[in-house]
């Protein structure tokens, strides 16, 4: 039953003009960035900014709006003898799947074509995680607020928080406590934000760690080890699962 629902959500989304435009935009950007410079590292660098800023933004806003717009469809299905759990998870899966598809076509394929290195793979993987994670966060934002305008506002704020405000707070903390050794707390702080975590993983793969001095050495030691890699992937999985789980709890109790 869930499969059928996912199928319908995905089919609905693929026909969506915004998704098509989004795919095309990503494709244009990534091909453009790679063909502008023969040095693919530079292309990867520029794409990293795209992956860490644009992808979360589009994922979170599009998903929020989609959930609000299909409220009637959700109500209708909720009236059927279906579990709310499978209904909500189908919507989540459908959204994550089609956005990921758009990302894979727009960024994944060009990256793997122009730069098939490990760095490229890390970039693509990070992008996929960003898509999934921010779709989940969008669902949480949408289910928590009944009002559409307010919900979109919350979604934008969350995006703003993860890409900008959080780093600002970190910066503040760094300068407030500059007398203390902060390298290890920094690792913990970077884990608390999926955007930062992905950025650091990509940078370490680009061998930029030498530029980051002692901090870079500590980071590269930690994230370079098998344990660190495993832990960061685990954290990214947690980031994709926990918001959805909370939104599911909320949705199951929600008065539609």
């Amino acid at each position: 039953m869930m499969q059928t629902m996912i199928k319908y959500v995905v089919l609905d989304l693929i026909k969506n003009r915004i998704i098509l435009v989004y795919t095309f935009f990503l494709l244009l950007m990534s091909v453009g960035m790679f063909s502008m410079d023969e040095n693919t590292t530079k292309g990867i660098m520029s794409l990293m900014n795209l992956v860490l800023i644009i992808i979360p933004l589009v994922s979170i806003i599009f998903s929020t709006i989609y959930v609000y717009n299909s409220s009637e469809f959700i109500e209708l299905l909720a009236a059927q003898p279906l579990k709310r759990k499978s209904l909500w998870l189908s919507i989540y899966s459908g959204l994550a799947l089609s956005l990921s598809l758009a990302f894979m076509i727009g960024v994944g394929i060009p990256v793997l074509l122009f730069d098939g290195t490990l760095t490229g793979w890390v970039l693509v993987l990070s992008g996929l995680f960003q898509t999934i994670i921010f779709t989940g966060i969008a669902l949480l934002a949408a289910v928590k607020t009944r009002d559409k305008a307010k919900g979109i506002g919350v979604a934008i704020f969350l995006w703003f928080f993860f890409t900008l405000i959080y780093d600002g707070l970190v910066l503040l903390l760094l300068f407030q406590f500059s007398d203390y050794p902060l390298e290890k707390p920094m690792i913990a702080l970077s884990m608390l934000n999926p955007v930062d975590l992905s950025r650091i993983l990509i940078l370490l793969k680009l061998d930029i760690s030498a530029l980051m001095g002692y901090t870079g050495a500590v980071f590269s030691n930690f994230f370079g080890s098998g344990f660190g890699m495993l832990l960061s992937v685990l954290i990214l999985f947690l980031w994709s699962a926990v918001p959805v789980w909370f939104s599911l709890k909320q949705f199951q109790r929600k008065d539609l």
Binding site: N39, K42, M45, M48, N49, L52, I53, T163, L164, D167, G168, V170, L171, L174, F175, S178, L182, E183, M186, L189, S190, D196, R199, I200, L203, D207, I208, A210, L211, M212, G213, Y214, T215, G216, A217, F219
Partner: protein, 410 residues
Amino acid sequence: MKICITILFLFLFTDATAKLWRVGAGQQERSIRATINKATDGDTIFIYPGIYKEGQLIITKKLFLKGIQYPVLDGEQKVEILTIRCDGVVVEGLFFKRSGRSSYNDIAALRIADCRNAVVKNNRFESGYFGIYSQHATAAIITGNRLQSDAKDEVSSGNGIHCWKSDSMHISSNTVTGYRDGLYFEFVTNSYIKSNTSYGNVRYGLHFMFSGNNSYISNVFRDNGAGVAVMYSKNIRIQNNLFADNWGGAAYGILMKEITDSRVEGNRFQKNSVGVMLEGSNRIQLLKNVFIQNGWAIKMQASCMDNSIEQNNFSANSFDMATNGELVLNSFKKNYWDKYEGYDLNRDGIGDVPYHPVSMFSMMGERNASSMMLFRSFIVGLLDKAEKMLPVLTPVDLKDHQPLMKPLKL
């Protein structure tokens, strides 16, 4: 005419007395040591292929030692193989293998000690402590040698070409790899170092101190543990060298500490974590260099003054410059910076607004190393942009007044 003939005869006469010795299996002599003992000034010794284990050979006569097809002189990891202690000795085409190691003496494969005009040419060196060691030598020529060792750490290894208290040296076309420092000079003056390649050494590709009036031309220093470090010297000329792939937390394309009145021209700095590091260095002309794909192209401490940085190309560096203070006593002119975003209304190729090569974030990184965690994040990009509009943290005077719109052809 008479005089001419007399001179010619004189030459013939001297030539006739110089003897040619042949050492090797099936030759008139078997032992290099015995032959050296028998030979007199001006003699030539041909050494034929084979492995010679003869302990330490000391040359105190003016001899010409020539190896035929690289005969191996084996030091059995115990001794210094060859020591030159006489003016005008020529050593060519030998293969020095397994010279001794010691933590007490600086054992070299070949030592040039207290003499003039030694020539060390086209030899090979493999697995040893120090390679060629020159002490109190004058006008020695060291050329075309290949030195290769297997240094693992700084403590237990020696230098490739090591010169101490030497003058007017000519060191060219050598290849040095696997030592502690590829080329090492201390109290070396008036020397000419050209077309050498120094790579894969544990510490520095080139390291010198208290060595003035030297020229370094067209050398390649790449992939060394900590790059190149030069200190406490005057009147140095560094031209057309390549400094590349020196990557690591404390690796520099070239680190110049208290170098004064020098010229660094036409070099290429590529993929170093720091291209040029200047510390307490004054009156250096940094001209027509190419900085490409470095972490920091230039790190210039506030202790530097009267340096001029002109007509360089800066492209694809993570940071163009970093400094640690507000005071700027150096001049920047007519460089090309790929991060420059200004305009050129009168189309004279020179940007109309000055370029500030020090970004906010590079300044922040100098003050608080942990902030590097935010490297390439959105907020740092925004802060950099804001700082460009209204400098608060970055030194206001550190700017290129005439940034070029197009890269120079270098």
